[in-house]
């Protein structure tokens, strides 16, 4: 696992002078790079990526139940070498990460009552409040959430103990009766320290279905976990009890028409949370209203586009991920074909819609047949809320300017040379209703790489650094980072 630098600077063309100039993305680092012809072991596939709140740490989870932590290594606060570096090549230092530690978070298990195997795959990782210099995070597989503490521990050696029992007794009986032979162990602390991960709590047996999301509350003491039909509320300190706050399970399972696909707490309002459904709707609920939040306080749905319904309409409407922007006013959602930005004060429709891979529209039938249509792509939004990114097939991911009036778009490939296959063309973000927008950029993609898209190399997981323009994304077992 080595980070490497590359200086491929690609200029993303911008059509007009916006408030912020388009970003020039370049490759920053890669961890676990695959050598040519090397086969990816399924257990090594990355299944979750998350930056912590400070952006100094990055965690990835994989199908093998491992969590790998990375730490920012560039001297962010030191003044010494920085100036020299700045003078040399480029003026802005971008963050660099190095491997910190890894631990086995989940193991394969077997549910004997239901005769089901429980995969060890990490579905989600969320960072918790740092305390006393130790890192805390929650990780979950399909059924069980775990609370981890990772702390640098100094290596300690104990010497000078009361060692030899016979000697101790012999010396101990001193004339005046003072037992001078009793010595306290002396602990010698070395300067070296190594990170040690310890599981602090396990929150088991609360989900009948597969957990798709966990999210920490801004109050610092509670979190939610969501599965297909229910959302539970936990206190971080109490692992044997959780409260069901949303239950969409119908009385008869035959009546089931909609499942929960993702859930997230509002970043600052401790009483608000949003969850998305397979029917393409996002519901905002207020925990203050009632104990069981079966009724939402706001519903965000795309108004029906009349006439354009097909067999796939409902399938591709399913929301695969939602993310609140930093201050919580905007909400980003991803469905199969598009990325949407919502204003939580406007429930008539999305503020803007971005076509991620419009060129797949004629191929939905193939995608349905090979089950790709059910792939759950994640999305992420930059700390300043100006841009958002989401993944596609062939290890591509796209970055959109989401601020009003921005036309910025970039298509990158998760490789050392992110612009290898494409001539980026700016595209207009299509406002609601106009489905045809954004096709110009895709022409570039299709035109350039005439060979068929690779459905097996899909870029599902990615995360945006909280305060820098840095995107970390997973391509198979490799973690690629790009900065601008």
């Amino acid at each position: 696992m080595n980070g490497g630098d590359d200086e491929d600077v690609v200029v993303v063309a911008a059509s007009s002078g916006d408030q912020s100039p388009p970003l020039q993305w370049r490759f920053s680092q890669v961890f676990g790079e695959r050598s040519a012809g090397e086969e990816v072991q399924p257990v090594d596939m990355i299944s979750a990526i998350e930056f912590d709140h400070s952006g100094d740490h990055l965690a990835t989870g994989d199908r093998g139940g491992r969590v790998v932590l990375f730490e920012r290594s560039d001297a962010k606060h030191s003044s010494g070498g920085r100036r020299d570096l700045e003078e040399t090549d480029y003026s802005v230092r971008h963050p660099e990460f190095c491997y910190k530690t890894e631990f086995q978070s989940h193991d394969p298990a077997f549910d004997y009552l239901k005769s089901l195997e429980i995969e060890e795959k990490i579905n989600k990782i969320r960072w918790c409040q740092t305390a006393n210099g130790a890192l805390f995070l929650l990780s979950t597989n399909d059924k069980t959430i775990k609370y981890w503490k990772v702390q640098d521990k100094k290596i300690k050696k104990i010497c000078d103990i009361n060692a030899d029992p016979s000697g101790a007794v012999g010396n101990g009986i001193v004339a005046n009766g003072v037992p001078e032979a009793l010595r306290l162990p002396v602990v010698v602390t070395s300067h070296e320290s190594s990170p040690v991960a310890k599981c602090r709590r396990v929150y088991p047996h609360a989900h009948d279905y597969h957990i798709n999301s966990i999210s920490i509350n801004s109050d610092g003491e509670t979190f939610i976990s969501a599965d297909d039909l229910r959302i539970n509320l936990w206190n971080l300190e109490i692992s044997n009890q959780s409260f069901n706050i949303v239950d969409v399970k119908p009385e008869k399972m035959e009546d089931l028409s909609e499942v929960i696909t993702a859930a997230e707490f509002h970043p600052t309002h401790c009483n608000m949370l949003a969850y998305s459904s397979s029917k393409g709707s996002i519901r905002l609920i207020d925990l203050r209203q009632s104990a069981l939040c079966d009724s939402h306080s706001k519903l965000f749905e795309e108004p029906d586009a009349a006439g354009s319904k097909s067999f796939f309409t409902e399938i591709i409407a399913s929301v695969s991920d939602i993310k609140f922007a930093k201050e919580g006013r905007y909400l980003l959602s991803r469905d199969y074909m598009t990325l949407k930005l919502w204003d939580i004060n406007m429930d008539s429709g999305p503020v803007s819609t971005f076509q991620v891979h419009e060129y797949l529209k004629p191929k939905l039938c193939d995608l349905y047949e090979n089950d790709s249509i059910f792939d759950k792509f994640e999305c992420c939004i930059s700390g300043n809320g100006l841009r958002a990114a989401t993944g596609s097939y062939s290890n591509l991911f796209r970055v959109f300017g989401v601020s009003p009036g921005s036309t910025e778009t970039a298509t990158l490939e998760a490789s050392r040379n992110p612009m290898r296959r494409h001539v980026p063309v700016p595209s207009r973000p299509s406002k609601l209703g106009s489905i045809l927008g954004g096709s110009e950029s895709t022409a570039g993609v299709d035109g350039n790489s005439s060979n068929a898209l690779d459905y097996t190399t899909k870029l599902l997981h990615l995360a945006w650094h909280p305060n820098e323009n840095l995107i970390a994304c997973a391509a198979g077992n490799s973690l690629y980072m790009y900065c601008a």
Partner: protein
Amino acid sequence: MSMTDEPLYPIAVLIDELKNDDIQLRLNSIRRLSTIARALGEERTRKELIPFLSENNDDDDEVLLAMAEELGVFIPYVGGVEHAHVLLPPLETLSTVEETCVREKAVESLCRVGSQMKESDLVEHFIPLVKRLAAGEWFTARVSACGVFHIAYPSAPDTVKTELRSIYTQLCQDDMPMVRRAAATNLGKFAATIESAHLKTDVMSMFDDLTQDEQDSVRLLAVEGCAALGKLLEPQDCVAHILPVIVNFSQDKSWRVRYMVANQLYELCEAVGPEPTRTELVPAYVRLLRDNEAEVRIAAAGKVTKFCRILNPELAIQHILPCVKELSTDSSQHVRSALASVIMGMAPVLGKDATFEHLLPIFLSLLKDEFPDVRLNIISKLDQVNQVIGIDLLSQSLLPAIVELAEDRHWRVRLAIIEYIPLLASQLGVGFFDDKLGALCMQWLQDKVHSIREAAANNVKRLAEEFGPEWAMQHIVPQVLEMINNPHYLYRMTILRAVSLLAPVMGSEITCSKLLPVVMTAAKDRVPNIKFNVAKVLQSLIPIVDQSVVEKTIRPGLVELSEDPDVDVRFFANQALQSIDNVMMSS
């Protein structure tokens, strides 16, 4: 404390094990820290052991928790109160760890140590510690700081007092909600130590900050402070400052906050006095009883009796009772259940007439509730009503419902009724009992659920005790003994159980003439379980019947059983025979 004669070797091992790899051994050593300290002597404990503990605080939580607890009672081992301050450093570090239970224990120990320290030592050592914690880099230290102010404050000089108050004000506005929550939780304790002149100014402004916090979790802890603060303030100040807040809280947007208000409201009534209670708190409480959120109604319903006790009966009848009527038909079973568990207590508050007129219909409807817990809660408190309205009224109106419940589908409900029968019997008297309940008691002996049969057998015994052997001979024994012919062995076993319970109550004569023959017949049963239970019953009869009967009837029966093909039957028969021999020897 001085040297003892304890041998050194075990102590040396104990000390070494403070750093053993095995957590159990470390835990064991920490638990016996006082032994180590005694062996080391006070001076070495102060100079070596305590610093050692301060440095080695990255242990497992269990060990740290034990250490925090031990240090709280460690003053005698460091040389008494004048050296108590040496205990502060290790406790200070422990009060900053991230595990809440360790921190809480450390704070508890800090308070325990601090409350024994001399005033000058508090100023020199404890107050700086409070300030350090409050200025801690991590929230964990600041959370702990909130819990030690009330110890430091009283002995601080005036200037420091001002400083401490302003530090606490800052903690109430901390960035981290955890710290604000701790500040809210501890505000009452701290306020109790503050001079009344500052109460109205500084403390109330802290209180205002907390009650307007954006986080629900902080606001709802502030509610808890309302009652505590209310008691500290003069009634008029309480009315002026606390009352508006609590009334506001009772209409908070968050149901969790209203829930807390519902739980706490009655405590405030005393603090504000009768008039504001009538004009402000009763309407607030009525609103909570009619809250949209079931959880809030549950909390409010659960406090209905406590609230009514504070009010005068007219107010209760006029304002609370209508709500209680509504709650008795609430859509949430949990609300009805909470109401059922306390509503009986309202009877003494309202008096006989009001109870009969208003409460009885509610009792009856709750007794017939479809949810078993509701019914159970009513039944288990029936005696409280009895005292108010008297048995005649009770029996007329409630008995039909009770009879109905005696056949309830849910065995736990039946069980609750059975346990209540002896009490009911003693209050109803023989005549009434025979008519209505006698048959039920027999029926329970043949219940499908073992716990019910077991309870029924016990019930039969208690009835015999209540009404005497003569009555039992007429009304219980024949019916019980008849059932020994039941084709199902489990029911026969219940009868054996009843016999063994009845025998001591009925006395020797009846036992010999009526009970023993039945048992002896059962000894010929084809089921081994019955036979070894016969052996057990016979054993229990030995002390009751005459020696001659033992020799003539019991022993031959047991001897026969002791040759049974079944090993268990032989075992219990032999055991019984042995106890005959023991009785013989001792007499």
